[in-house]
Amino acid sequence: MVTITPQHFLILAFILVGIGFLGLLIRRNVLLMLMSLELMLNGINVALLTFSRVGNNLDGGIFVFFIMTVAAAEVAVGLALLVALYKKRKSVLSDDMSLLKN
């Protein structure tokens, strides 16, 4: 008898989102902030798949596919930006990227 319900999956998904967000807030290294974003996306993916499975609908799964695609592109562009910035400012810390304020 299976005791795992969809709620378990959902709770897990949201915990992942929360951890990702926590990382986004407390890390100053932009690389790690990007990773935290990935973690949040993963949490969302889990939730989507759960709904897809439960609702007997493939749409959620296909959305996960698209989210992966977008995430891959986002990481590529984000990292390229980071490299470009690093060449100028010799730093990957977000504190050093507050040019708009000053």
Binding site: F21, L24, S94, D95, M97, S98, K101, N102
Partner: protein, 612 residues
């Protein structure tokens, strides 16, 4: 036919635009263009008047429409419009020709002739307009072009003040006019003149005295009637041909024309009021004219007085006679103004009549034509003024005795001050170098004088008018011819001008020096007349002591409430918000993502339904 009318209306506008954009430096070309435009208007006007047989030519098109309300642009060329159209086009053309001579040495000719063309455009618009709103638009346009032309010599203090005065005083009247138009629309649901006529016929009970008096405010402002008469004498600061065209022959008469256009709206009380205001103006302006030293101001006051006659004629129920007098007045008053222009031009812009004298020998054509004008306005038998003025007098004798008494006194005064003007200016010996050196002007200036002189004689012979022009006058004139007491009126009218002539001769026949003989003999009376019954002073007092404090009070309110509270206040509020927002703007990506998530949280919590 409509194409003729349309091109006639827009030809002067085109000419004014061309002058404005291309000919601002080229005085000769600009003046020629303007004169040819005036000639074109005359030809087209004759085509419009005589080119077809229809009694009423109506045409309109949509001007603009919004939200179920439409403003139409249209022409209503009926009998009074035809006559005024003829007068405007004809007198306008003659004055354009005269201006060629009068303004030949003026450096600002393009501005002057552009203004004249603009004026012709606006005046034709008033003449042809078929609804009150369109009429009002052109009404304002004549006011504006009059302002432009009065201020032609804008570097003199007098002209700039006078132009402003004319503009502001006209605003007062036009405000009433605008209210009248709104009331009309409110009451009748239309502003179209022919529809209004039908409606007023159908349900006479709709007409109210308030409504027609509000509309008459437009007349009072534009025709310079009591209590808004103060602007016209000052408007003489403009060039003399302008005074002749705008402030004597056409624009001021447009007020009377407005009354004719809407006469079906008037109630009996309003008519009586207008009759008395007009008659009173006829007498009052006569007294003022009696003591003026400036040749143009004498003529200006006499214009006021004659406009009073027209208003009185309208008030006692004879709009046809009012238009008749308007026509003859346009001829002889334009004649006299142009004559005075000729004198002023010859005497090097000297305008004080006591510095003239003996001009008859030096300027015979001007003198004779001017004398014809004087005879016409004084109502000397068989000149044009005799027919139109005595018709009004007889009508009032039979229908309204008090008005007749006032008008008759005014008629005697008219003859006194007109002959005074003639004697002082043209008879006796020259009293200054300017007048002893004077020479007759060129044909450009005397030509229009002679044409107008002929018209001033013939203009009163009603039967000479073509049927197309006279159809509006005929009903009133046929009633007039059946009135009793004709012979009695001939005696009275003749005695009026003879009394005036004798008075003038005894007082002003021999003027030796520069003081007014009247001032020597009756100084108190002279002073009273010269004060013009203190109207300017009363208005000055009103503006200074009553209007200005109110304006200052409102200004303080405006500073406090609008500028202080609303404008600055809203700016301050925005600044306050920006200060709050700046606190959140710390320049760290972490704080921004925090705000972002908090916002998302807000939405999520809302979707939980916790707030409901």
């Amino acid at each position: 036919m409509i194409n003729y009318a349309l091109s006639m209306l827009f030809l002067p506008l085109l000419s004014a635009m061309v002058t404005l954009f291309f000919l601002r430096k080229n005085g000769n070309l600009a003046s020629l263009l303007s004169v040819f435009t005036a000639g074109g208007i005359l030809v087209l006007a004759l085509l419009v008047i005589f080119g077809n047989e229809e009694d009423v030519l109506a045409w309109d098109t949509s001007w603009f429409a919004m939200a179920g309300w439409e403003l139409r642009f249209g022409f209503l060329i009926d009998a009074p419009a035809r006559l005024l159209l003829f007068v405007v086009a004809f007198v306008g053309f003659l004055i354009h020709v005269f201006s060629l001579g009068y303004m030949e040495n003026d450096p600002a000719r393009p501005r002057y002739f552009g203004g004249l063309s603009l004026f012709m455009f606006s005046m034709l618009g008033i003449t042809l307009a078929d609804n009150l709103i369109m009429l009002f638009v052109f009404w304002e346009l004549v006011g504006f072009s009059s302002y432009l032309l009065i201020a032609h010599y804008f570097n003199t203090e007098e002209a700039s003040l006078a132009s402003r005065k004319a503009f502001i005083v006209n605003r007062v009247g036009d405000f009433g006019f605008l209210i009248g138009i709104i009331l009309t629309y409110w009451t009748y649901g239309t502003v179209n003149l022919s529809e209004l006529a039908d409606l007023a016929d159908f349900s006479p009970s709709l007409a109210t005295t308030t409504l027609c008096l509000a509309l008459a405010c437009g007349f009072i402002g534009k025709s310079a009637q009591f209590p808004l008469h103060v602007w016209l004498p000052d408007a003489m600061a403009g060039p003399t041909p302008v005074s002749a065209l705008i402030h004597a022959a056409t624009m001021v008469a447009a007020g009377v024309y407005l009354l004719l256009r809407i006469d079906f709206l008037f109630t009996d009380q309003a008519l009586v009021l207008i009759a008395f205001v007009g008659a009173g103006m006829g007498l009052y302006a006569g007294f003022c004219a009696l003591v003026q030293k400036d040749i143009k101001k004498v003529l200006a006051y006499s214009t006021l007085s004659q406009l009073g006659y027209m208003a009185a004629a309208f008030g006692i129920g004879a709009p046809g006679l009012a238009l008749f007098h308007l026509t003859t007045h346009a001829f002889f008053k334009a004649l006299m103004f142009l004559g005075s222009g000729s004198v002023i031009h010859a005497c090097h812009h000297e305008q004080n009549i006591f510095n003239y004298g003996g001009l008859r020998k030096r300027m015979p054509i001007t003198a004779i034509t001017f004398l014809i004008g004087v005879l016409a306005i004084s109502g000397v038998n068989f000149f044009s003024g005799y027919f139109s003025k005595d018709a009004i007098l007889l009508w009032s004798y039979n229908f309204n005795m008090p008005v007749f008494v006032i008008l008759y006194a005014g008629a005697i005064l008219t003859s006194v001050y007109m002959f005074r003007l003639y004697f002082i200016t043209f008879e006796g010996q020259p009293r200054s170098h300017n007048s002893s050196d004077a020479k007759e002007n060129s044909i450009l200036m005397t030509g229009p004088l002679m044409v107008l002189a002929i018209l001033s004689i013939l203009g009163g012979y009603f039967s000479l008018y073509p049927e197309r022009l006279s159809s509006y006058l005929s009903p009133d004139l046929s009633v007039f011819s059946e009135l009793p007491n004709h012979m009695w009126m001939v005696v009275l009218g003749t005695s009026a001008w003879i009394i005036g002539l004798l008075f003038a001769w005894s007082f002003f026949g021999k003027v030796e020096d520069e003081t007014d003989p009247l001032a020597k003999r009756y100084p108190a009376f002279f002073e009273l007349c010269q004060s013009k019954l203190f109207f300017d002073e009363i208005y000055r007092f009103y503006v200074d002591k009553i209007q200005d404090p109110i304006a200052r009070f409102i200004e303080v309110l405006e500073l406090l409430l609008i500028s202080g509270l609303m404008v600055r206040g809203s700016a301050g509020l925005a600044a306050l918000f920006s200060m709050l927002a700046k606190v959140c703007y710390v320049g760290k990506i972490h704080s921004y993502s925090l705000w972002f998530i908090l916002g998302t949280l807000g939405f999520l919590i809302y979707s939980l339904g916790l707030f409901e």
